[in-house]
Amino acid sequence: MTILTPSRILGFGLAGLLAASLGAAPAARTSKHAARGVTCAQCHGKSGKPAAVPFRQCQGCHDPADLAARTAQAKPTNPHENRHYGTQTDCTRCHHEHQASENLCLPCHTRFTFKVP
């Protein structure tokens, strides 16, 4: 089975340019994005009250179709192109930044044992 590693997931276009241009991220919380220089406000908005991150926000940097193409050969199936959402699965259904990620497939498809970064 192909394991989806963090480098494969994150390596597809988290804009280095964006990260470089926007100063240091706060270190208060663990975040792969923060480690790459993405600020809280870039995902959560500037209101001071961190809002849930809408799918479109992820898509500002990550192209779902591109991601689906990169994981096309994943076994037993491509999690990024599926019968439920096509390529439009909201990233945050599986991938979490500040807590453990989860495998949305698993409760129903018990053999889809992806490791979710």
Binding site: F55, H84, Q88, P107
Partner: protein
């Protein structure tokens, strides 16, 4: 043949009267809250002060707690209306359909074919549906007495709690509607056939009267009605229907007298769009199985049972409720199946069945579709296994159902290499083993318990009488000879099929039993078609057949307004 209404007395029928009296509407809720004593009965001791406060200042936590205190209807507080200045765009249609599924897509196409300008707003990125079979009655091939006998059977299946008018409406219009869906889906490129009467072997005669059926089949798996509805949506687009995907409906637009004038939906870009509907809004948003609060409240039976669907959050229930609609009373109908772990044709065969531990738990003549009632605790959570031995082809040859020989069973075995056909590969769960202990491990039951269960079962079989559960002697076959077989099934919630009160035009009724102008409810959101503890399997494909039929009829009705 027609279902022309018989002579009826003044006022609503018995079904409607009961839902008005015991169902849940905004008005009845507020009224009961103020009533104190009634509120205690409905929402739990000590709840009424909080409820009274909630009337003025709605707080999600304070609203509508169930009798055991565990379930809260967080959807109840009506949200603040989205203001006009928050709307990025306003579009005007004759008919706006919310939800592109087995009822919504037919409703939209049917309305368009009858001259309406139609929009469909859909939360998901495309049309969605589940299952393969959708059925109707072929009136030309049926005796009228047979149609009425089947209506009576379906009413009994629903423990006499359904609205007979709606059953009769399905009976007399489903053949036409299902044929229409087949034809139009084919135009969109669907793989669909009419399996006709042979697919309904058990009901070719009802009470001795002859019957014929139209049985649409989108398949075989993994092709489903979801693919079928996407094809039907193509036909609808050609007919002028405009689809708006990733566009969840947030609120209804209501006029001063409560009439529904349109829908406000939120686009993928986060912006609100207003869809005005000159003739009516048809909600076809499906059930609420993924809304934990709503499920725990209306159907606590499924608390520990797994869900088959995603995102069925009861959006239309909330919208219709806020608009004054009435929920059917607590005690909703559920549909739990597993046709995928092993052959569907063997699911009701009365082999030894063991629970998740490995214990026998039932007289196995109970159908798979009802076994959830024995397995609804957290430990079992719908899991059980059918167990049989190497001689099953001869020992069970005369049992109801259809046996699949060992070679064919491989298609359902995850441990067998090679591609599988006609199944959901990720759901197959049939196993073969040289010993009972090995089989137990594959079935994820306790080996020692399974061995003891089989030993006891074999004693019962040898005695010729099932002194443990009373199963007929003709269904007693020993489990002695390797290889041993097991099918690990887990029944999960396919659908919850109770809904909100509608009349024969599928128009929502308010707490006074008056139609809410401009608001129509179809599919699993529409109430009155079921009422039993479980969805009945008398007519294979009744659920999709009803969705198609009521979508088809309602689209046409609203277009003609």
């Amino acid at each position: 043949m027609s279902d022309e209404p018989r002579e009826e007395g003044q006022g609503p029928d018995a079904y409607t009267r009961q839902v008005l009296e015991q169902g849940l509407s905004r008005r009845s809720f507020l009224g009961r809250a103020a009533g104190g004593a009634a509120a205690v009965g409905l929402f739990g001791m000590g709840a009424s002060p909080a409820l009274a406060a909630a009337v003025k200042e709605p707080k999600a936590d304070a609203f509508a707690t169930s009798t055991d205190g565990g379930a809260t209807l967080t959807f109840l507080p009506k949200p603040k209306p989205i203001r006009d200045r928050e709307i990025s765009e306003t579009l005007t249609f004759d008919v706006v359909v919310v939800g592109a599924g087995a009822s919504g897509v037919p409703a939209a196409l049917s309305a368009a074919e009858h001259g309406a300008k139609v929009a469909v707003v859909q939360k998901a990125p495309f049309a969605l549906s589940q299952g393969n079979t959708g059925s109707g009655i072929d009136l030309a091939a049926s005796e009228k007495a047979g149609v009425e006998a089947l209506v009576a059977r379906l009413i009994a299946d629903s423990n006499h709690r359904c609205n007979p008018k709606l059953i009769r409406q399905w009976a007399y219009h489903s053949g036409e509607a299902v044929r229409w869906v087949i034809d139009r889906a084919k135009q969109g490129g669907a793989t669909v056939v009419d399996q006709g009467s042979p697919a309904q072997r058990a009901i070719l005669k009802v009470n001795g009267y002859g019957m014929g059926y139209v049985t649409s089949f989108f398949g075989p798996k993994p092709y489903t009605t979801g693919d079928g509805m996407r094809a039907l949506a193509k036909t609808a687009e050609k007919a002028g229907v405009k689809f708006f995907f990733q566009m969840p409906a947030m609120q209804l637009v209501q006029g001063r007298s409560g009439e529904v004038q349109g829908v406000i939906a939120r686009g993928h870009d986060g912006k609100y769009r207003k869809f005005l509907a000159k003739k009516g809004v048809i909600l076809a948003t499906g059930d609420y199985q993924n809304n934990r609060a709503m499920s725990d409240y209306f159907i606590p039976d499924v608390k520990h049972l797994e869900r088959k669907q995603l995102d069925r959050t009861g959006d239309g229930f909330a919208l219709a409720y806020w608009a004054g609609g009435v929920f059917e009373p607590i005690g909703h109908t559920k549909m739990l199946h597993d046709f995928d772990a092993g052959p569907a044709s063997m699911c009701d065969m009365p082999f030894l069945a063991v629970d998740r531990k490995g214990r026998r738990f039932v007289n196995e003549t109970v159908e798979m579709s009802l076994l959830n009632n024995y397995l609804k605790d957290a430990e079992n959570a719908g899991h059980y296994s059918q167990v049989f031995d190497a001689d099953y082809m001869t020992q069970a040859a005369t049992w109801p159902g259809r046996l699949v020989p060992p070679e064919g069973l491989k298609n359902y075995m995850p441990d067998e290499p090679g591609p599988k056909k006609g199944v959901f590969e990720s759901q197959v769960n049939t196993h073969k083993a040289g010993t009972l202990e090995e089989l137990a491990r594959k079935l994820e039951v306790d080996p020692a318990t399974l061995v003891a269960t089989v030993r006891r079962y074999n004693e019962v079989v040898a005695s010729g009488k099932d002194s443990d559960f009373g199963k007929p002697a003709s269904f007693l076959a020993p489990i002695l000879k390797a290889p041993f077989y097991g099918i690990h099934r887990r029944v999960r919630v396919s659908a919850i099929c109770s809904g909100m009160l509608v009349d024969e035009h599928h128009q929502a009724l308010d707490a006074d039993g008056k139609p809410i102008k401009g608001l129509f409810l179809v599919g699993n959101l529409g109430g009155g078609f079921y009422g039993g503890v479980d969805y009945p399997l008398t007519v294979f494909g009744l659920s999709l057949g009803r969705c198609y039929t009521f979508g088809y009829l309602t689209g046409r009705h609203v277009a003609r307004l």
